[in-house]
Amino acid sequence: MSIPQTGRQINYPEYENFLDHLEKKGGPFKFVTAHKHFPVGSKVGTAPKTRSLAEIRKSVLESPRVKSVISEETLRRKCAPEDVRKEAEEILDEMSHTFNLYNVRSFGYAVCKAMEKLYDGIYVNEQKLLEIRERSKRDCVIFMPSHKTYFDFLLLSLICFQYDIQLPAIAAGQDFMSMKFMAGVLRRSGAFFMRRSFGTDQLYWAVFSEYVQTHVVNNDRTVEFFVEATRSRVGKSLHPKYGMLQMILEPYLRGSVYDIVIVPVSMNYDKILEEKLYAYELLGFPKPKESTGGLLKAREILNNTHGSCFLTFGDPISVRDHFGVSLHRNTFVCQPDSQFVLDNQAKVEIKKFAHHVVEIHNKNAVITVWSVACMVILQTFDRDDQATLTYSTIYSGVEDLITLLNQLGTVVNIQGNLDKNLRYYLSMHADLFEPFDCTAQDFQLKFIDFPVAHQQQGVPIKVMERAVSRLILTTYSNGMIHAVDSEGIICAILRNNGVSSLAKVREEFCWLHNLMKREFVTIPGELPQLFEKTLRILTSSEILEVSDDVIRILDEKNVEILSKLVLPYFYNIEMAFAVFSPMKPMVSDLAEMVGTVQKNISDAYQNRLPNTRLSFLSTEPIKNAFAALSDLGIFEKSSSGMRTNFAKLHEIKARLANFTKSTISSKL
């Protein structure tokens, strides 16, 4: 049986370069003004029809659900129905897009121009797009892209325009609305805005879900939303959110549409526009409010190439086929359509599906040479933080790691030859280093310090300044971790835990993955299957062998390499766990603890304790670690804050130390 392949190699004709198309068409102006044949989506059973914005608006306000909530609210608030209706209209106006093709064309012109300047190539797997175009005539297509940058939705819309696919209505976060000018442009390009949280606001909930669902039911256009809800600042997938997906699938579950087609889209970039912003933000420096001014300043960025972007459209998934067996719609039919509630089983299945989509994002993601190089550089710093980097050592490290990845069935995208490709990436990311001569046979690389504005509590400015580039490196190295996370965990268990029985290793594997579910996204409830799959990969690549339910190591060296790829993630959370001390049993707010963890990490780093990376200062893994403890029930809420259950915490720490121990000399 063949090993499922992770990663993509960018080759013509599977991947077409959009920028070549653009050039062939005679440039951005010709492109945006070209005559278009967007298929008019049809609601099954009626003739294809384009609805006007007013019709969409009317269908929301006249929907049984909104009408019913308006009546309820009128009674609850003891006010006139017109007042509630007016509020509903205001909510609707606040969220609605004002899609208009003329605006798209003119905005598209600017975007095309920028793309041309920014990128050397924009690669898309064209066949899938043609397939999607056909499907979109019959059923509503939902794009679920991975989310790493604001460029994701600009690019996706551009590609849809290129392939005559109805431009998506995009679910965007309301934080965009503070960008006055941009918000208007985005609205007209088809973005609609949702509040980050609207908890129990029944009216908002009703209007918003009707608004989303009217697009799905009438198949006016394609719909796009991000299952990770927000941009991942860390270069790897975020734990998915479920609300929007539930909302989108609901019309299928209550039979309002025949089918819905989900298209996972993996969007990968050689260089992320926001890389430095992310690094600062993750270190805890306040996030600059999205403002149009900020984006315009970004214009200086336009003068440097950002390499290529890769859009890999996954196989369209028919929701009907996917949920055909697991979700029985007939369990919902006793509810009126206007008061639809999902049962727990349905919620579980939908959650699983969200994780499944993230898994596809990863499987189809392009792993770049740069991502591998960053991993190699970080490992070099693990050995000696003051190490001098030379091109030749990085090159040989990258070459070795790629060989191992290939052995595991993972494809690393190499354009041309490795040497050329690695030099290309180094010069693209030259802003991270002190000047170097990329054409020399061999050369040294030294990271520059990025200025930080002010001191964080307890962490010296120097340390923070050095940390910025380390965080950027980590973001890129994270781009390949999904290919080795499970493999690394198994290898580290075998090396460190001193167990080799299949059952024991599986048990530990599941526990660790569950602990790390925010770091490495897996499908809930399917960890045993993941274990079997990973073990198959490791045995068929002759790194391990299994006989009589005992796992044996065949290839010591690669087992060590693989475990060292994942262990830092565990060291990171271990340091976060260490912040809870019996001396101070009450925690008022977990967010406050993040600073303390950062200080501890900074101290450990300055004292040159082993297994400490500067990138651990990132607030993301620390928050993830706290969330993992909450999930495991470590904190008991009380009136004066949260009480830490140290017995339980100790158990978790001991079990984790058992896994990380052999390399932590201080604990021996």
Binding site: K43, V44, G45, T46, A47, P64, R254, G255, S256, V257, Y258, H328, R329, N330, V333, P336, D337, S338
Partner: protein, 597 residues
Amino acid sequence: MSASYQTIEHDVPQSYRDKILKWNGWGYTDSQFTINKDGHVTFTGDKYDISGKVMPHFRPWFENYLGIDLNYVSPAQKLSDVVIDAPVENEDLIDFLKENNISFSNSARIRLMRAHGHTVHDMVNLREGKIPRLPDVVVWPKTEQEIVKIIEGAMSHNCAIIPIGGGTSVTNALDTPVTEKRAVISMDMALLDKILWIDRENLTCRAEAGIVGQSLERQLNKKGFTCGHEPDSIEFSTLGGWVSTRASGMKKNKYGNIEDLVVHLNFVCPKGIIQKQCQVPRISSGPDIHQIILGSEGTFGVVSEVTIKIFPLPEVKRYGSFVFPNFENGVNFFREVASRRIQPASLRLMDNDQFVMGQALKVASDSWWASLKSSVSKMYITSWKGFKVDEICAATCVYEGSREEVDQQEDRLNKLAADFHGIVGGEENGQYGYRLTFAIAYLRDLGMNHGVLGESFETSVPWDKVLSLCRNVKELMRREAKAQGVKHPVLASCRVTQVYDAGACVYFYFGFNARGLPNGLQVYDRIETAARDEIIACGGSISHHHGVGKIRKQWMLTTNGAVGIALLKAIKSELDPANIFANANLIDIIGSPHCKL
């Protein structure tokens, strides 16, 4: 027909079933669609309005909509070529019947005529000469006492009984289970066909269960009454059959469904006779025992006599019709009619496919649509009103009552239709729509002659789910047909045939050209099963009035739940512990030979 056994019979009645009905198709032997020498579709016989008329628009429709080649024929096997197996012998039973002077016969043709209903399976089997397990002997009770006697005989001589009324079942309810090893008696109710009395004071009528609908109605009409129950099968189906399947009539808005019409009944089961002591309009005496009998589909016993409500014949009966720009508008109109409770006696909505088909079936002289083609009214509908030919749909209705009532009803409906962009289509088109109902049943036989497999099935559904259910089920039939390898366009059409306060009854018509498929019937089955799954997933029911029989048993558990099924089983084991009424409809009884457990 060849049978290699000796016929034994006694006092066999001359029955319409054996004389004037087709043995392998719908309805009267002399009535059928054929292709005349000019290549046009025509209808034979003299029993219907369209008899002897030519339908020039039908052939093109048939060819285009179903991809039919009329030169290709898939002829049915001749009756003379059919081989009938010998019945299961049970001399004791035969002696018992003779002793008690009960009419019976085991003649091959008589058994064959009572062995099936009218599902596509039944018809394909007969046409292809695949004869299923037949009942072994047919008996004709002449009185309720004889029914009791026959059940006694069956109990003491180890036999099973399957009652038969009109034989119009479309649920395989009449099929003899293949696993049944006992001699099976087909209890033909044809001789219990008399009206016992008419009570003008209380407006009720008591009749024997075997009376055929049209006969009952004709006799009542003569005396100035109507029973108001008018299922599409009224020409052949019986009063007892209506009760045991929970039948519904098209004019139920005015008169009610069978459960609303029944005032009293006698039910003979192996434990004895169930019969209430009084004939009252309503009673509070614990759960209504009638409700156990209504829809029991011959699994507990047999209905022998029924008292039903009757009504004075209405002064005026008038047809009406409307044209709507699309199905959605039509459904919304129906919903509004129901919520205002202004439904006329009958109200039906056809979708576009059926509207077009209906127009294609019009006879040469009065094809409204055809004559519209160049006329001002067509211009009015398509150009001025903006109706699209491929979306337009039509509603038909029947008004019954006093002239004043009918005028008022008609006026109200016409006004309301305008709110939904409906246009009044006139009385003639309304009447045509109902006439077509009777003819349409014959259409499948014509299709089958040319390789088409088709069936209609129905459901009931709450109002908020009507549109999505119709849309999804039709879409499923189309997509599933394609996935199953059907090469030609399929007919996937529906109509709303009843309105209720809380929902509607929807009928689906499904047909496809099975030519070129290795096993068309299997493909048909898969699609119908998938369609019923979809109906249920979209909030529809297992059946509105056709019933469950054997064809829909697989959905009984989902429909009624485990406790509900256990209750039905308990009733069965109480009333019929030896499983004499062994047609195996509705549920499987543990311990009976057809149970898979």
